[in-house]
């Protein structure tokens, strides 16, 4: 730099400009840097917390799974607390036994380290017997109601459903491989769905005079192999017949046609000759007896699954005779030898006072039974199989019904009743008022029955492929 240049800058008073520019640029850079740092730190923090948040859920689930494994190991007897950890965090779990074979699992998962990065989440899982019973009436073959019955709930039959004169089904009816018939003045408030037909009439769904179906009617074909010919099924067999005065409120869809003078709608769209697939048949829920499922303090076994005493029924009846006014608990009755209507469990005159479960290989009969409970479930399980060719006659007390409920079987709505008969018919007759469900090989109901589905019987221990499954999975405030 020459003397001239220096003198020029001094004269122009520019000697500090470089410093000013440098300071200002540094300020800009510092501001930018501070901004970037602030955002980076925030983003890093948010990401870290988000990671911990998700990890805490995983850790909590690990705790739930640990508790379930513990329950399996101990046959359901484990209760109390446990702790553990995964590579992501730690969990603490509390298992609480509830009534009717329910378990509540509370798990708290914690993940993350450092200030503000720790996340905690709390899960509550309820385990219960599998969901097995969702219909008011279920039959592996036929459901037949007669004379002023009122069924509240859905009805399912793997074959046919006949809703007789003046009966009302407040729900839907499904005949998976058979037909639906609603006789004079009968009323179904839901839908009707059939998968087969009545070979004597070529009708898939039949509403007799003044019968009413509020929902839709669908006449399908069981497992059609193609949608064009519907597996070659004869369309004349899939008629939806409505006699004069009969009415369907919703649409009608059938592989056949709608016949008769009854009305549809409005708007009521009738779609004829349309091939639709019938619903698959539904299997009867499987029942497995295990003594460990029941409170040993109230379990009464007359025989075991492997041993069947000759006095099982008489011993049971002796006990019932002594406790007729207040019966509760679990009874397993495995009678030896040939069982028939002469060797059966008779619950006539019994008053139920708490949960009552009866499991037997014999028929069950009752001529009047009542309850004095606040919240109870009556479970009747009979594996009795009537002789081939025999019939269950509602009017004959000794006919071959597997379970025969007769005359004023009237537990209140405080008691839900589950009737289970996989190998034989259930007969219900005369003024019964029942809340719960009936699942049977076949069902006959007659004379002023009121049957209302009760969701308390949906999950009952012993039914289904597992003892307990997850019923609800909830996240609570930690």
């Amino acid at each position: 730099m020459t003397i001239y240049t220096i003198m020029h800058r001094i004269r122009a008073e520019e000697s500090g400009i470089a410093m000013i520019i440098a300071v200002v640029l540094l300020g800009v850079m510092a501001t930018l840097m501070a901004l970037v740092m602030t955002v980076s730190i925030h983003t890093n923090f948010a990401t870290g917390h988000g990671r911990s948040w998700v990890q805490a859920l995983h850790v909590g689930e690990a705790g739930v799974n640990k508790a379930i494994a513990k329950l399996q190991e101990t046959g359901g007897s484990f209760s109390g607390s446990l702790t553990g950890s995964t590579t992501e965090g730690t969990y603490s779990v509390t298992v609480t036994h509830q009534t009717r074979n329910r378990f509540q699992i509370d798990a708290t998962g914690t993940a993350g380290g450092g200030a503000g990065l720790v996340a905690t989440r709390k899960l509550r899982v309820t385990m219960a017997p599998p969901s097995s019973f969702k219909y008011a009436l279920y039959s592996q073959t036929i459901v037949d109601t007669k004379n002023n019955d009122l069924i509240t709930g859905d009805v399912w039959a793997n074959q046919n459903i006949i809703v007789d004169a003046n009966d009302t089904v407040t729900g839907s009816v499904t005949a998976a491989t058979g037909y639906v018939q609603v006789n004079n003045g009968g009323h179904v408030t839901g839908d009707a769905w059939s998968g087969g037909f009545d070979p004597s009439s070529g009708q898939a769904i039949y509403l007799s005079t003044n019968a009413t179906l509020d929902g839709t009617a669908k006449a399908s074909v069981t497992a059609p192999t193609d949608p064009v010919t519907c597996g070659g099924e004869n369309q004349s067999n899939y008629k939806v017949r409505l006699d004069n005065g009969a009415h369907i409120g919703g649409n009608v869809t059938t592989w056949g046609t709608k016949t008769g003078g009854g009305t549809v709608g409005p708007p009521g769209i009738v779609t004829s000759n349309l091939c639709t697939a019938a619903p698959a048949t539904q299997p009867m829920p499987v029942f497995t007896y295990a003594p460990s499922n029941y409170d040993p303090a109230t379990l009464h076994e007359y025989g075991t699954a492997a041993t069947s005493p000759a006095t099982a029924v008489s011993d049971f009846q002796t006990y019932v005779g002594a406790h007729k006014s207040a019966l509760s608990g679990t009874f397993f009755v495995n009678q030896s030898g040939t069982v028939n209507q002469g060797v059966r469990l008779d619950l006539s005159g019994v008053t139920l006072t708490n949960d009552l479960t009866i499991v037997t290989n014999t028929p069950i009969f009752t001529n009047g039974m009542t309850d004095n409970t606040s919240d109870a479930i009556l479970t009747l399980v009979s594996t009795y199989k009537p002789p081939a060719g025999s019939t269950c006659d509602l009017n004959q007390d000794s006919s071959e019904c597997t379970i025969h409920l007769k005359n004023n079987f009237q537990p209140t709505d405080k008691t839900a009743v589950l009737v289970y008969s996989p190998y034989g018919p259930v007969a219900v007759k005369n003024n019964q008022i029942q809340f719960g469900a009936i699942y049977a090989d076949s069902i006959e109901i007659k004379n002023n029955q009121s049957m209302t589905y009760d969701p308390r019987v949906e999950r009952v221990v012993g039914f289904g492929p597992e003892t307990a499954t997850i019923q609800t999975w909830l996240e609570l405030a930690p």
């Binding site: 800009v28 901004l35 955002v39 983003t43 948010a46 969901s131 997850i470 609800t472 909830l474 996240e475």
Partner: protein, 147 residues
């Protein structure tokens, strides 16, 4: 003086650029924070759903679920650029704005048999409409059919 003017002009330009950049970064960060909260909440509620109404669509999910262990009916509806949440038929409250798409929900198997819900939330941060932030989540229903 001319040189000083040029330098100050350049500095002001840099300042303005930094200021815009700061606003964008801040808006982006705020949008992401909001999206995280919304996705977390929706994921939590869908996971606990007992049923999803067949009337649900790509822009609306109508479900019965649990909130802090209590059964609730909740509807999320994306309309225009706003996502709203309604509880028990109450007023729809905006939970996210500046949506770039109302197609948020994809259902597996189908809307009439929902096992899994895929969730995609796309948002334009404020002051930067050419930028789209996307958060996705997949949720399997844990309480399906257990109501």
């Amino acid at each position: 003086m001319a040189l000083l003017g040029v330098v100050l002009g350049a500095l002001l330009t840099v300042f303005e650029s930094v200021q815009r950049s700061a606003a964008f970064v801040q808006n982006r960060s705020e949008a992401l924070d909001s999206m995280r909260v919304v996705v977390d909440e929706m994921t939590k509620e869908i996971r606990q759903a007992t049923s999803v109404s067949p009337s649900s669509t790509a822009s609306m999910i109508d479900m019965n679920t649990y909130v802090l262990g209590i059964s609730k009916h909740i509807v999320y509806q994306a309309s225009g650029s706003t996502l709203t949440r309604s509880v028990q038929g109450g007023a729809a409250v905006a939970v996210q704005t500046r949506l770039t798409s109302t197609d948020l929900f994809t259902y597996t198997d189908s809307v009439s048999n929902v096992e899994l819900v895929a969730l995609t939330l796309s948002v334009n941060p404020l002051n930067r409409p050419d930028t789209t932030l996307v958060l996705t989540s997949e949720v399997r229903l844990r309480n399906r059919g257990s109501a």
